[in-house]
């Protein structure tokens, strides 16, 4: 087994990986930027190395530096987490060339699947259903128009090098194609240094369902069932569930088999996710493959009992899959809510600050994967996701009841969070009766901004909040500022610890 793993990431996923290393007896090495000097991922790791200034482009995105550190400290392997360099085939190639094990698929596979057109071609060839459209980049506006008319509007223009909801644009009218194509190309060039764009038929109000697979280096594949990730805002997932409550067992069998076929088609090894769109007609289409660990992997871990990060490490270490498909059974239901530092009613602006108070929820069926601790700093430089709250229940109802209970227990002071907004989402009829799709939040929640969504919730604590405000103001006016003298006989003060 590896002696030392360098974790090329930060935040909750770096913490998650360090914990897996700890359990496996592997030394974990964190990297940190200026801002992250004392961040939680540094606190939990065994070793920590400075990587550069706070901007990701100076630190977590600089493959050369990371590769260099890995070599210098004698790391046997690099875990990339998600985001940053996790799907960068050049980086992976560099790591491979340095004789260090990359905990993920090979650079060839990542390159192949990272190009969405070549991935579509491959899937089509291996009879994994793909969304109607082109499998080659658009070469001219005329081509684009022709394809659009053939498959029918509306269509999606997508960057071949894109993914994860980035670099895509919907076109409803034929005369909009030219401008849209230009803009998608320019954005794609800016984001991915590649302006190849292809066309997919626009699937009306689908759900987003994805299949988690594991493959070893000997051609063995299993799936860990699927996740439902339709609750999204601007293509960013907000809530994920496993299993998908939208599928019956027959469809579950079909889609998971398609997932395994997709992985096999690209000689995949390690953990990967095949994303599908699932439409109102009960058809599903290959959307893209994420060649890395997903943010939402804990819901799969909860229902299957498999520690995906540890499996990743074992697979990278050259071990054969220790689990067979028949050993994997779904138990119960799991839900994840992503906790963001953001101002929901202020255009979702990231909320910056120090975490002064951080009380985790606890008790049965509750898991928290977190990137923060008391007195962590939430900065402008990185993704504002603070933590993930994941619950398990014997069925969707119990998982949901536990989620609402745990959200109520979760206390954070110092930044604004999106916790309150989950009261609206999780209690919404469309979430409960499964009629949601990927446009659920866009259609039903965003129009209630700012603030009107709160009016749809019960006025549970209005009066209590009003009373507390008055009592605190009254107390404040009573207490005269003293010079560092505290009377222990004063009950008001005695409980307060400074």
């Amino acid at each position: 087994m590896f002696k030392k793993i360098l974790i090329a990431n930060r935040g909750e996923i770096a913490v998650r990986i360090a914990k897996a290393c700890k359990e496996m007896g592997i030394t974990s090495a964190a990297i940190f930027s200026d801002t992250d000097k004392d961040s939680l991922h540094v606190r939990v790791a065994d070793e920590a190395y400075y990587i550069g200034s706070s901007a990701a482009t100076e630190s977590y995105l600089v493959g050369e530096k990371i590769n260099e550190i890995a070599k210098n400290i004698g790391a046997n392997a690099i875990h990339p987490g998600y985001g940053f360099l996790s799907e960068n085939s050049n980086f992976i190639k560099m790591v491979e060339d340095a004789g260090i094990t990359f905990i993920g698929p090979s650079s060839q596979t990542v390159k192949l699947m990272g190009n969405k057109t070549s991935a579509r071609t491959l899937m089509k060839k291996n009879r994994v259903p793909i969304v109607p459209g082109t499998t080659e980049p658009i070469t001219s506006v005329e081509d684009a128009k022709e394809t659009a008319l053939k498959i029918g509007l509306p269509i999606m223009l997508k960057a071949a090098a894109g993914g994860g909801g980035k670099g895509m644009r919907r076109v409803d009218k034929i005369e909009e194609i030219e401008e849209a194509l230009e803009r998608t190309k320019s954005e794609s060039m800016k984001s991915f240094k590649n302006d190849a764009v292809y066309i997919e038929k626009f699937i009306e109000n689908p759900k987003h369902i994805e299949v988690q697979i594991l493959g070893d280096k000997y051609g063995n594949y299993i799936h860990l069932f699927e996740r439902e990730c339709s609750v999204q805002r601007r293509h960013q997932k907000v809530i994920e569930e496993a299993p998908s409550p939208s599928l019956d067992n027959e469809l579950r069998k079909k889609i998971t088999e398609a997932g395994v076929n997709a992985a096999r088609a690209c000689n995949y090894h390690n953990a990967g996710t095949i994303e599908f769109l699932y439409d109102k007609n009960g058809d599903f289409y290959f959307l893209e493959m994420n060649t890395r660990l997903q943010v939402e992997h804990p819901v799969t871990e909860f229902i299957t009992g498999v520690d995906i990060v540890k499996e990743q490490i074992r697979i990278a270490n050259g071990e054969k899959l220790s689990i067979e498909q028949n050993d994997i059974k779904i138990r119960g239901h799991s839900i994840e809510c992503r906790i963001y530092a953001e101002d929901v009613d202020g255009n979702f602006a990231p909320s910056i600050g120090n975490i002064y108070h951080h009380r985790l929820p606890s008790g049965p069926g509750v898991r928290v994967d977190r990137g923060i601790d008391v007195l962590s700093e939430v900065s402008v430089y990185y993704d504002p996701m603070l933590s993930k709250l994941i619950t398990w229940g014997k069925d969707r109802t119990e998982a949901l009841e536990r989620m609402l209970r745990a959200l109520g227990e979760y206390q954070i002071a110092g930044v604004k969070t999106n916790i309150h907004s989950y009261q609206w989402i999780l209690n919404h009829p469309r979430f409960l009766d499964l009629s949601f799709d990927i446009n659920f939040l866009e259609d039903d929640f965003l129009p209630l901004l700012p603030g009107k969504w709160k009016e749809e919730l019960p006025n549970k604590y209005d009066e209590v909040a009003a009373i507390l405000a008055v009592m605190l103001k009254q107390k404040d006016s009573e207490i005269k500022p003293k010079k560092n003298i505290r009377s222990t006989s004063n009950q008001w003060e005695s409980l307060s610890h400074e």
Binding site: G408, G451, L468, M471, K473
Partner: protein, 166 residues
């Protein structure tokens, strides 16, 4: 007996308080007991009910509370402060200007309105790129665009004034 006016989420509460663990909320008497657990954490009993509340004080009139997964921004004024506030509000109503500020540092991608355009509350005003995301800045009140202070592709700071709608 001190009297206060509390506003939260478009609701108003009139609350009076004395020192005997009693408050009167919109005419109804409540027994209350408050324990401070830390600077950010309070235990409030109202009659037989118990509430564990996370609190952040913004200033002498504004608090932000977090109760059982619900968040509240609360402003509280003494009767005197309330009178001053009303006066101010009336003044500004006569000369009503809504200031649109940038909620975060970023880059102005697109300005969707020009001076003189009518806007409804909720209309998209401009696109701001920040944290690698396009953020839609929307109007929080209705009116006419009076002035625009930024141009496309310009960088803005947090709280920088972007537009005035009057």
């Amino acid at each position: 007996m001190n009297e206060f006016v509390v506003n939260l989420e478009n609701k108003e509460f009139n609350i009076s308080i004395d020192k005997t663990n009693k408050v009167i909320v919109n005419g109804k008497e409540r027994n209350v007991e408050l324990s401070k657990l830390s600077d950010f954490s309070y235990l409030l009993k109202v009659d037989e009910k118990v509430y564990h509340i996370t609190s952040e004080k913004k200033d002498s009139k504004n608090y932000s509370f977090f109760i059982d997964g619900f968040s509240y921004d609360v402003s509280v004024r003494t009767l005197l402060e309330e009178k001053a506030y009303e006066l101010l509000k009336n003044k500004s109503n006569n000369n009503h200007n809504a200031v649109v500020k940038s909620p975060m540092p970023g880059l102005v991608l697109k300005i969707k309105k020009k001076v003189g355009d009518k806007v409804e509350m909720g209309d998209s005003l401009l696109l701001l790129e920040a944290m690698k995301m396009e953020n839609d800045i929307r109007a929080t009140s209705s009116g006419v665009v009076k002035e625009i202070f930024v141009s496309e592709n310009s960088a803005v700071e947090k709280n920088e004034i972007l537009m005035i709608i009057s």
